[in-house]
Each structure stands twice: as structure tokens, then as C-alpha cells.
């Protein structure tokens, strides 16, 4: 299966599972995608990702954001010099989505996906996400393709398969739509990536696209992604929990001006 160039991982995920895909997952793959394409960058100032900043990347200025990406990017359009802590970025994106329904509506109506969903006044009224015939066909293709990736991934863990590793690099950031990627496989991918960069195999590098933005052999995009992947769920949970429940009911911290130690 060839993934269209202009599809984002969030759009892929939504088409694959329009009902089950959660805000948390959709935001996660959108953030990974923006990082991968260098529209945003992570400025790591300490070992704790909580204390790292998201800033605009070199591709930000000329990038026309899709609606679901604006949850992250809108604020940078107003203040491009902003340095936003990881938890604040997640909280802000979550707040900007205004819930699952508006986020999915934006995805459903995007230029990439609107031809795959039924659309009439009843559906608009109730905000339903129902695939049409073409959409179901696409959904099946995607599901089969990801099943194929999963099976071969498990096989490659035992018997390293260079051709398959290259295929995974070619589908770019969409690889991160597969959850629970085995650590061994990520190491294999990273090895392949580092070897390509080291040998400067231009033909191969041109095929795998944005990975080559990360040409440092010591630190590839996968290294960064593993760290973010590990931190994301915890930060999402604590940030959202804190922003939506933690403070509003509690008067102890908000009413206290501090102490004089």
C-alpha cells in the first residue's frame, strides 16, 4: 500500500479507526508528525522532558497547517518566538481541541478525508463519523497494511530483514501509528538509519525522506522519539488531569500567597 504524501498520521489513524481513536492518540501522532517534519522542534535543556521546550522548527514559516495541527501551531503563529514547556504544550493542544467531537469533525472534513465519509445534514447535526463505501475500502486497505507491518515486525525481531526495515523507514512517521513497537525492532531501525547516514547512500536517503533531517549519527529522530514516546502518556495524563480537575476544586493552593522562609 502506498500512503499518500499529504496524509498525516492523525488522518491515517482516524480513517483506520474513526470511532475508537482517542484525543490522546490523535494528539500524540500529530505531535510526532510535526516534530518529524521539523515544523516544531524540541529544545532539550535537561534530562527531564517535563523541562524541555517546544519551539518552532525550520519548516514552520512556510507550512500551511491543517485544522487538527492548529491545536499545536496556532499559538506559534501569534508568537513565533514562544518556548513552551512539554506539559503546557499538551495542555494547550488538549484545550484547543475542545473535545473529541470537534477534533474528529476537523479530520472528517479535511481535504484528505472528506471523500471517505458520508455527509448529510443528519450526520452533520449529530457529528457522526460514518465511512462511505470508498472509505470502508480504504479502511480495509490500511488495516491490512498495518497487520502486514505488525507480522513482519515481529518476524524481523527474530530474523533481521533489511528490506523490511527500509520499507518501514519509507513510510516515515506513520510507523509510529503502530503501538507497542518492540524495542528490538526500534534498535534495528535505528541501526539501519545510522548506517544509511554513515554510508551517505544518497539513493536510499532520498527514498526515506524526512529521516535525513536528523543526520547526526549520535542522535537520530528515533532516539528523540523513544524518549518522547516514553514521556508522552504520563505527561498527557498528569497535565490533563491537572488542568481539568486538579485546580478548580482545590482552594488550598490558589488562596495561599506563600510563606516567608
Amino acid at each position: 500500500m502506498k500512503i499518500p504524501e499529504n496524509w498525516t498520521p492523525a488522518e491515517m489513524l482516524f480513517l483506520k479507526t474513526p470511532l475508537e481513536s482517542s484525543v490522546q492518540e490523535l494528539l500524540r501522532c500529530t505531535l510526532f508528525d510535526l516534530l518529524f517534519r521539523k515544523i516544531l522542534e524540541l529544545d532539550i535543556v535537561s534530562n527531564d522532558l517535563n523541562q524541555s521546550y517546544f519551539i518552532i522548527g525550520p519548516k514552520f514559516q512556510n507550512y500551511l497547517a491543517k485544522e487538527h495541527e492548529r491545536t499545536f501551531l496556532q499559538v506559534y503563529h501569534m508568537n513565533p518566538e514562544l518556548r513552551i514547556l512539554f506539559p503546557h504544550l499538551i495542555m494547550m493542544a488538549y484545550e484547543n481541541t475542545r473535545g473529541s467531537r470537534p477534533l474528529k469533525k476537523g479530520l472528517r472534513n479535511s481535504n484528505s478525508l472528506n471523500t471517505y465519509f458520508k455527509n448529510n445534514s443528519f450526520i452533520q447535526l449529530f457529528g457522526l463519523n460514518i465511512l462511505n463505501k470508498e472509505g470502508r475500502k480504504r479502511q480495509t486497505e490500511i488495516s491490512r497494511y498495518f497487520l502486514y507491518l505488525r507480522e513482519n515486525m515481529n518476524y524481523s525481531v527474530m530474523n533481521r530483514n533489511e528490506d523490511f526495515l527500509m520499507e518501514c523507514l519509507k513510510i516515515r512517521e506513520h510507523i509510529f501509528l503502530l503501538d507497542k513497537i518492540p524495542g528490538t525492532f526500534i534498535l534495528q531501525l535505528n541501526d539501519t538509519l545510522k548506517r544509511l547516514v554513515k554510508t551517505r547512500d544518497q539513493a536510499a536517503l532520498s527514498m526515506i525522506g524526512p529521516w535525513v533531517n536528523y543526520q547526526s549519527i549520535e542522535n537520530t529522530f528515533l532516539d528523540i522519539m523513544i524518549d518522547i514516546e516514553n514521556a508522552y502518556d504520563y505527561i498527557f495524563f498528569t497535565s490533563i488531569n491537572h488542568s481539568s480537575h486538579g485546580c478548580s476544586d482545590c482552594s488550598s493552593c490558589s488562596s495561599c500567597g506563600g510563606c516567608g522562609d
Binding site: Q51, V75, M78, L85, M91, S243, C247, C253
Partner: protein, 164 residues
């Protein structure tokens, strides 16, 4: 911006106003107390930093907008962060907050505010964002704040669908 001003601006931009050890950070508190969105809160802090740069590099007195003033007020509560980490260690100078002495100073503050907007545009080469730095007009009103305990009162906004 001169190279020295740029250097100072870089230092101010990199100054972390949030306490890394706290689960209820400066930004959280500012957002909660003003009922701002997170994006607006982060932008307000950024504009506060710009205002402080203007204070540092200008001989004239500068005047903040109401939004920036709210950020400043709260930062002044965090005395260690404000006086030690920000003023002493980052700015290498003290920036005092001078509250108004009364209605007789209204004209003076209006003049200072317009001067601040001019300096902002000159230094940052962009017009100050209108939602944080509103242009004063004849009909513009000053905020009419009052401290309310939400345990005792309901608050119903006059513009329920407008969110900052």
C-alpha cells in the same frame, strides 16, 4: 535591537518563570486566577518578558497593559523568583513596580502607555498584539476588578461566548 539588547532579550526569553519542582506552576496559577486559556496565558507571559526588556533598555518610564500588569503582579508575589533569579541574576538590575497614585496620574500613564507601544514596535519590529496590548480609545474602559470568593458566589459572564 542592538547586540547588547539582543543578548539581554535572549537571557530574558530563556528565563524560566515556572518552578520546576511545583505541580501548580506560575503559569497554572496565572491561568486559573484570570480564567485565561493556556495559549493566552503563555502569550501573556511572553509579552510580560517583552515589557520587562523595554523597561531595562529605555530611560523613559514604561507602562504595561492590564494583561501584562496581571502577569507582573503575580510574578512579584514569587519574591525569590522575581528579585533574585529574574532581577539580580538575569537582568542585573532592579525593576520596581510603581502603582498609580490616583486619578491625577491618568494622563501620565496614558502617555507612558502610548510610548511603550511605540517602543515595542521599534524594538521588536512588530505591532504589539491588540488582544494583550489594546490601543486606548475614548470609549475604552479600565478593568473593574473585584475579588470574589467563588465558594459564596456564582459568576455569570456578560459575554459568555467570548473566551480570551
Amino acid at each position: 535591537m542592538t547586540p547588547e539588547q539582543q543578548k539581554l532579550w535572549d537571557k530574558i526569553q530563556h528565563f524560566e518563570i515556572n518552578d520546576s519542582d511545583s505541580s501548580y506552576t506560575f503559569s497554572d496559577r496565572l491561568r486559573y486566577e484570570n480564567q485565561w486559556s493556556i495559549a493566552f496565558t503563555l502569550r501573556a507571559i511572553q509579552e510580560y518578558k517583552k515589557f520587562i526588556l523595554l523597561c531595562c533598555i529605555t530611560d523613559d518610564s514604561m507602562s504595561p497593559s492590564h494583561v501584562v500588569d496581571e502577569v507582573w503582579h503575580l510574578h512579584l508575589l514569587y519574591t525569590r523568583s522575581y528579585w533574585t533569579e529574574f532581577c539580580s541574576d538575569t537582568l542585573n538590575q532592579t525593576i520596581h513596580h510603581g502603582p498609580t497614585k490616583g486619578i491625577e496620574e491618568k494622563k501620565k500613564f496614558e502617555h507612558q502607555y502610548l510610548l511603550t507601544l511605540e517602543r515595542y514596535q521599534y524594538i521588536f519590529e512588530q505591532v504589539a498584539p491588540e488582544d494583550i496590548w489594546p490601543m486606548p480609545t475614548a470609549s475604552s474602559k479600565s478593568p473593574n476588578y473585584v475579588k470574589i470568593d467563588r465558594n459564596d458566589y456564582w459568576i455569570i459572564p456578560k459575554k459568555p461566548f467570548k473566551k480570551s
